[in-house]
Structure formats: C-alpha cells, structure tokens
C-alpha cells in the first residue's frame, strides 16, 4: 500500500555537498524541486561535534561502517540534512589544477574549463565564508606546524567553511554547512526539503525514469513522480540506488578513497580539544602522503589506543595531553559497491595495493617522527603490537613491527563510484547524465574521476554547481 504520492519536476535525492547546491541552482532557475533526504534535520548546536550522540543522530549506522578487505577500512557517511557537511571538519581545498588536468586528459572530459571551475570555487568560497581561523592556532594545530617546521617540511593551514564572531578564537566557529547555506537558498526559491524519506529505487520506462519508490519516516511506502531525477546520495548510496534500479553498467566498480592510519601523541602540556580538529596539514609529500589532525575527544583517543590497550591504555588517564593525528595516502587501490538483492544496504569492499600498504607504513613512521619533533613525549601508533615511540631510535622498531593487517585503517573521503567521462567504461557523461538514460543524473562525490589527494568536498561542490547549471541550460534550450 502506498502512503504518499508526491511529485516534482526535479527530484533531488540527498541533501549533502552535491544535493544542496544542485537543489539551490535548479530552484533558483525556476524548477519545481523536491529534495528527499534519508536522515533527520539536526540543527547546528543541537549536538556536540564529534561525539557519540552526533554519530547516533547524524551518521549512517551510527558511524560504524566498513569496506571489507584485508584489512577492512572503516569509513563514515553523514546521514542527515546537509549530509557530510554537517559532521565533517569543514576543511576546504580547491581541486588542484594538476588534478583537473589529469581528469580531463585521462577521462576525455568535455566542457571542462578550469577557469570556469575556479570561478565557481570563488562563488562557493564566498557563500561558505571559507577562511582561516582567527587568532592563535589550537595547541594541536600548532604542534603539527612546529614539528613540520623543525623538519623543514611544507605545511599550511587549511581554510574552513566557518564564520567566527568578532574577537572569537579558533574554536568558536560556526559551520557554513549545507543547512546554513545552499539548502535555505533552495527553499527560499520554492524548493521543498523533506527529511526522513528514503528512496529505494527508480522505476524506468525504457531510457526514462518516471517514478521513485521509497519510504516515509514512518516506514510507509511512498512514490514520487518526476520529469528529472538527480541522485546525490554520496559515493556509497548513489551507486547502490542506481544498481537497485537496474542501472548497473560500470556503476560501483571504481570506489576510490584516501586510506588513513593514525597515532595518538602525548605532550607535556594540555593539548586536547574534544570538539574540534587541528587545521594544519603537512603537504611535504603530497599528493602521495599528507598529515593532519583528527577528532580527539576522549572516546576517540581511547579508540586510537585500543589496538594495544594493555600497554597504551594507561595513557587515556591523561587524555587532556593526548591528541590524534592521521597519515593519509593517495591510494592506487580500488573498491566496489554492490547492491545485494534482499539487503537494505550495499556490500562495500576495498583492496589496497602493495604500494598502498608500504606507503601507509612509511607514512605512520614519518608522522611519528613529526610528532616527536613537535615535542610529543610519547607516541602510540594505532596497530596491534606497536611500540611506544619516545625517541627517534624507536622509529626503527615501529617500521619493523608495522603490518597493515594489524592496523586500524579508516577513511572519511569516499568518491568515484559513478565517475564522469567520455570513455567506454564511464557510467555517466561529462556532466553526470547516466548512460542509457535520458533523465537520470548523478551529482555528488561519486562523479569524481578519482580521489583528488586533497579534501574532496570543494571539488564535489564545484562539479555539482557546474553540472546543475549545464542541466538548466540543456533543459531551457530544449523547451
């Protein structure tokens, strides 16, 4: 039985970094836009950032999700109005020009002008108030900077999409996430946002999708009739939805991530900021390898120590002097997302290459060196059997005992499961139109041809705005 029958000219599925700008551009161009978001609306300030409560309310599956493999890679997905932009660190990087050049060259992208994309970046940065933090860096950020400077390694502060009250400190910012920016723009222009609505699949009539089938917040069946649909569920949910709808060709076979390994570093002074992250990043070895700060609240610090708890555990009693850092790599590996008949959620896998494994081990050792140079008194790498690193001489033990199978590997950057391109294996065209369809588009992190080696959300938003504008032009030209 169907509880609700909805309709819209354009259905946008998902409200994160892809869906929200898409909805705003289309609504402001005069389209009748309906945004369906599976997660709830949670206003900023209602939950403590990086807390378990936030994971309960704003992450898919409470933040406990993993790509299976050897080892499994833990990942997180936002599941709320605004998607990942509500829960991440708000760190922003433009897509690097060499990355754009690689995408255009290797994937035959058309109408892919760098100046146009960077002009869109200008707009996004203005809309989101992208800026560096005011006043002094947090102690955890400053430690990264100090360690890198002592080693002569390139480092800089990553700007964030934040606004700060006059005279505020580095931790007083308020995120300019999608619920504060593009979603209000979409609704102000007449778009509708409905939260708690899940879309299970699209119904196709030949090349044309005509209806979405899903569930309302009470689990009752709904239908949505539309003229056009833009799928923006993120790099895991978007390919799963397309596959459940029968659109399987080259979809979900090229998952790309930035795998990371972590360590906890203990300092003589109090350094822990429970509800924020370090904003400095070390780019000396980029794009292959980069270092930065992770959320380090006491629960997450305990997690970072958990692989060798019998030896590392006592450090948690001094958690105010602990902070967590990561080493992230550009991976050569690839993963898959597969919808499985009868299961609500897709099966996600990822395979690291031999080079990836070596790079992660090397990265962890360099990160440990960096934190020692920054003044850490003890360093606790996150893998089973790791030594406590107190001096440079201990790094040899670290490298000798590191095995990725014993490490906690995770990622927060997922992309490239439905990449744009003009080659025979590209599931969408250069603007995200799904091949074999006339009105199904994708406009989120799935579209990135590969992992950009920097925080990807700036790239996702720039592509989303570009593609949404192309959609407007295409439809208006045809009518």
């Amino acid at each position: 039985m169907t509880a609700g029958a909805l309709d819209a000219e354009v259905l946008v599925i998902g409200s994160g970094a892809g869906g929200a700008p898409t909805a705003a551009v289309l609504a402001e161009a005069g389209f009748d836009v309906l945004v369906l978001e599976e997660g709830p609306m949670v206003r900023q300030g209602d939950v403590v950032p990086f807390s378990l409560e936030q994971m309960d309310r704003q992450y898919r599956s409470g933040g406990v999700t993993a790509a299976l493999g050897f080892p499994a890679i833990a990942y997180t997905e936002g599941c709320c109005a605004g998607g990942g932009t509500e829960v991440n660190s708000g760190l922003y990087r433009r897509p690097p020009e060499n990355v754009l050049a690689r995408w255009r060259r290797d994937h035959g992208l058309v109408d892919f002008d760098f100046d146009d994309l960077y002009a869109i970046c200008d707009e996004i940065e203005l809309e989101l108030s992208v800026q560096t933090v005011p006043g002094e860096l947090t102690a955890a950020s400053d430690a990264l900077r100090r360690g890198a400077d002592r080693l002569g390694w390139a480092n800089d502060e990553i700007p964030r999409w934040m606004i700060y009250p006059h005279g505020a400190s580095a931790t007083d910012g308020r995120r300019r996430s999608m619920t504060e920016t593009y979603l209000p723009r979409a609704t102000a222009a007449g778009g509708r946002l409905m939260t708690g609505y899940r879309v299970d699949r699209l119904v196709l009539d030949g090349r044309r999708a005509t209806r979405a089938l899903g569930r309302d917040p009470d689990g009752r069946a709904i239908t949505v009739d539309f003229a056009h649909v833009v799928v923006c569920g993120g790099a895991i949910q978007t390919p799963a939805l397309l596959q459940r709808s029968g659109l399987r060709r080259h979809v979900g076979t090229t998952l790309a991530v930035h795998p990371t390994v972590k360590l906890a570093a203990r300092f003589a002074e109090e350094i822990n900021v429970a509800d924020d992250v370090a904003v400095h990043q070390v780019s000396e070895f980029a794009p292959d390898l980069s270092f930065g700060g992770s959320a380090s609240g006491p629960g997450l610090a305990a997690l970072a120590l958990s692989d060798s708890w019998s030896r590392f555990g006592p450090a948690i009693e001094d958690w105010r002097r602990l902070t967590v850092y990561y080493a992230a790599i550009s991976s050569e590996g690839r993963g898959t997302v597969r919808a499985v008949r009868g299961l609500r959620d897709p099966l996600v896998t990822y395979r690291l290459t031999r080079r990836d494994r070596a790079m992660l081990g090397r990265g962890l050792a360099r990160l440990a060196l960096l934190t020692l140079e920054a003044g850490a008194t003890e360093v606790y790498p996150s893998y089973r059997g790791a030594p406590v690193v107190r001096r440079r001489a201990d790094l040899a033990t670290l490298q000798g005992t590191f095995a990725l199978a014993r490490a906690s590997v995770m990622t927060v950057h997922l992309c490239s499961t439905v990449p744009i391109g003009e080659g025979p294996t590209a599931p969408t065209d250069s603007h995200g139109l799904v091949r074999g369809t006339s009105n199904v588009r994708v406009n989120d992190a799935s579209l990135l041809p590969d992992a950009p080696g920097v925080n990807p959300q700036g790239s996702v938003m720039a592509l989303a705005v570009r593609n949404a504008r192309h959609f407007v032009d295409t439809i208006k030209r045809a009518s």
Partner: protein
C-alpha cells in the same frame, strides 16, 4: 523467538570482553556499555550485520564448549580472521562509549577522582 543477529549471544560476549579489558568498570556502567554495543550492532549495515551474526554464533558455540570467559581470554589477544574483527568491533565500541560518557576513567575502568 530467536533473533538474528543473536542479541543474547552478542550481549554475553560483549559483557565478558568488557569485563576482561576493563575489570574495574562498575557493573551498572558495564551494562550500559553492553546495551550500547547491542544498539550499534543492530544498526550495522546489512552485510556487516550478517557477518557479525554468523561470527557471534560460532563464537557463542565455542563459548558453550569452553566457557565464555575462558574463550574471551583466549581470543582477545589473537588475530583470528573474522573473530579478530568481531573482538575489535566490540572493543572499539566499548572504549569509545566509556571514555565518551565518562572521560575520567582509568584504563582498568575505575572511575577517577575528577568526575563527580
């Protein structure tokens, strides 16, 4: 009626893992942690939930044979495929919960003085 994943087996195993790792955690806190683990496992993505369910049945069966406490002592330090991931999941959830809810807790689970 039996459930899948088997909540009872997972709760029993989680309780023993937490008791093994954090022996001085007060019983009422341990119960809260075990309930949290149960909620998180129930909310896992379907493929992970099935995997955890299968492993929990195998581990539960082994626990019936040798005793759950003894089994936990045996498996917590060993990198057994599947079982090792199960232990790591339970351990990760429990540590994250304990120090998120009660930050000033000793590594043994004993509440420290800074908390009221």
């Amino acid at each position: 009626m039996p459930t899948f994943p088997p909540h009872g087996l997972i709760a029993e195993f989680s309780d023993k893992v937490v008791a093994h790792d954090l022996p001085e955690l007060p019983p009422e806190r341990r119960a809260e942690v075990v309930a949290f683990i149960g909620r998180r496992v129930a909310g896992l993505p379907s493929p992970m939930r099935i995997g955890v369910g299968v492993v929990s049945v195998v581990v539960g069966g082994a626990g019936r044979l040798v005793g759950t406490s003894r089994l936990v002592r045996g498996v917590t330090g060993r990198p057994l495929p599947g079982v090792g991931d199960y232990v790591r999941l339970v351990r990760s959830l429990s540590y994250a919960y304990v120090w998120d809810a009660w930050p000033d807790t000793a590594a043994t689970g004993r509440p420290l003085g800074r908390q009221s």
